[in-house]
Symmetry: C2
Subunit: 326 residues, 2 copies
């Protein structure tokens, strides 16, 4: 843990001196960045600070239930000047999408993150790769600074933790994560309400899921399906609703490498990979100039759907042949 | 909480005097009944007891990873005699499927359950409707009796809690549930491994899910679909694989009352209800001689599929009409 006394005192000093504070999280913001940012926004606003929470990409619909979410803005370029910027969940400043020049536009930058390999770009770096979520760090910071955690803050921080731990399912969930969750429930976070928002779907998305499953193919340890533009328009679902679709392919016991192909243009297909066990989909994605991690990666293929699927399957089969040889 | 000192002492006395112990849970056993039973089985066996864990229905595949799961048996009629029977998660004895005549075949019966409306059929009734799961009660019992909770017991109890709270998402999740989860992780329960087993699927089940979604209907605040025997045989999926299917109906934002109808015979349909918000499906299920909780209930309808759906929908519509009047 890195939220030691010296760091907390430094942070407190920065906040005390600041009138205008910027909060910002990474591109394609997730529940941890949004939840943690909104918890901070609520608290700092109550302290009388002028707070902006600005990201490059829009707030995903599923987080609109969070208190103060209407105050989250997005822009390609921040023009204002700030006394203090708190950058949330960005292992390097570029993850922020280059929307601000911190050295020019902010007197002081605080880097609050839980990624391994954080580049320590802040004037103050509160980085704890063991934290399940920035929300977990923020909880400890707020307790350390004796800030009251009210129902709104608890709701935001709980959302941050729940989304980054997959409802306490991922391996980053520690005994302490559950202790914090317990405290957040006591402070008023409503687990059922929050989960029903965060994991909610629409009738349109459910129909698209059905279409995707109707095209599902399982071949050896590979499982794959696809989504065409027509399937989107037939059902009325939107792309951001399909983020978790691939998990229902990956959940199949015999599937080690799951793939979902999404048509993005007449000759453009985005393929997502998810794997488990020893299968390294990062290697496969890199072969198509994409990348990611061992168990989650992606790439864009400049081919029509049928050819894109053929090309990727050929590579995955090759990967398994080589893997067997090794 | 009902695991008071007197109850624990009585339970300890029963166990001390017993050589042959029967554990049993309800028909269509779930993670709570199986996990709690296996935690008890492990502990009682270590104490030198002869323990049988017998249910009417087979162990669902997803629980085969649990320690000692190979010892779980199923039968239509238990013929043995026991010094002590511990009945898990059965609000009334009949939920057990009538596989044993407790008054004849067991000297003493302990009723360990967390359902409202439990009929208190045991010689000792440890019933706590506020407990999220029997696993939660069992954790407190084991702590109260100073039984060590080793990795195996922690894995079983964690599975019980995770399945009955939907990964800590349902409203039955309390601050204490998270404190217990924290302790179980410390004792060696592996959240990622357990979740990957409990939430794993098969190709057959995924195909059945697709068939179910193809029949999905959303009408006002109701969402429903059905599974026929033919759909099961066409896909090769089995009933226990469909436990979570209803959640993808419940997840739809506009759906408040989700229903899934499963054909169990030519004139027999099992209907599951899941709700959110203020909708109380227990009331609806009770109208069909079923029951459960406010947000999760079930009933068996002795009608062919089409008529069963019609009858239930009529009741749900009526429920909403009456609710509006109130």
């Amino acid at each position: 843990m890195n939220e030691d006394k010296a760091a907390l005192e430094k942070l407190q000093g920065f906040i005390k001196q600041a009138k205008k504070i910027l909060l910002s999280t990474h591109i394609n913001p997730d529940g941890d960045g949004i939840g943690s940012g909104l918890a901070l926004l609520g608290k700092l606003t109550k302290m009388g600070k002028k707070v902006d929470f600005i990201n490059r990409d829009p707030l995903p619909m599923i987080y609109k239930f969070l208190p103060n979410s209407a105050q989250v803005k997005n822009t390609k370029k921040i023009t204002g000047k700030y006394d203090l910027a708190i950058v949330l969940e960005c292992p390097e400043l570029e993850r922020n999408g280059g929307i601000i020049d911190y050295t020019q536009q902010s007197k002081v930058t605080v880097n609050l993150d839980h990624h391994l390999g954080n580049t320590m770009y802040g004037d103050l770096n509160i980085v704890d790769p063991k934290a399940a979520a920035v929300g977990e760090q923020l909880y400890r910071i707020m307790k350390g600074l004796c800030w009251e955690i009210d129902k709104d803050a608890a709701t935001c921080i709980y959302t941050a933790i729940v989304t980054d731990t997959g409802s306490f399912r991922y391996s980053n969930t520690s005994p302490e994560t559950h202790i914090i969750a317990s405290e957040l429930l006591r402070a008023g976070a409503d687990p059922e309400h929050i989960s029903s928002q965060v994991y909610s779907s629409t009738e349109q998305a459910t129909k698209l899921m059905y279409q995707m499953l109707s095209k599902l193919k399982v071949e050896g340890r590979m499982g794959y399906s696809y989504l065409t533009k027509k399937m989107f328009s037939d059902t009325g679902a939107i792309e951001s609703e399909t983020d978790n679709f691939i998990n229902s392919i990956r959940a199949i016991k015999t599937v080690e490498t799951a793939m979902l192909f999404k048509e993005t243009g007449p000759s453009s297909v985005k393929v997502s990979f998810r794997s488990k066990g020893t299968a390294d989909v990062n290697i496969i994605a890199r072969g198509f100039k994409g990348g990611g991690h061992k168990h989650a990666a992606g790439a864009v293929i400049h081919l029509p759907m049928a050819k894109a699927i053929k090309a990727v399957l050929a590579q995955v089969r090759k990967y398994y042949r080589l893997k067997r040889v090794k």
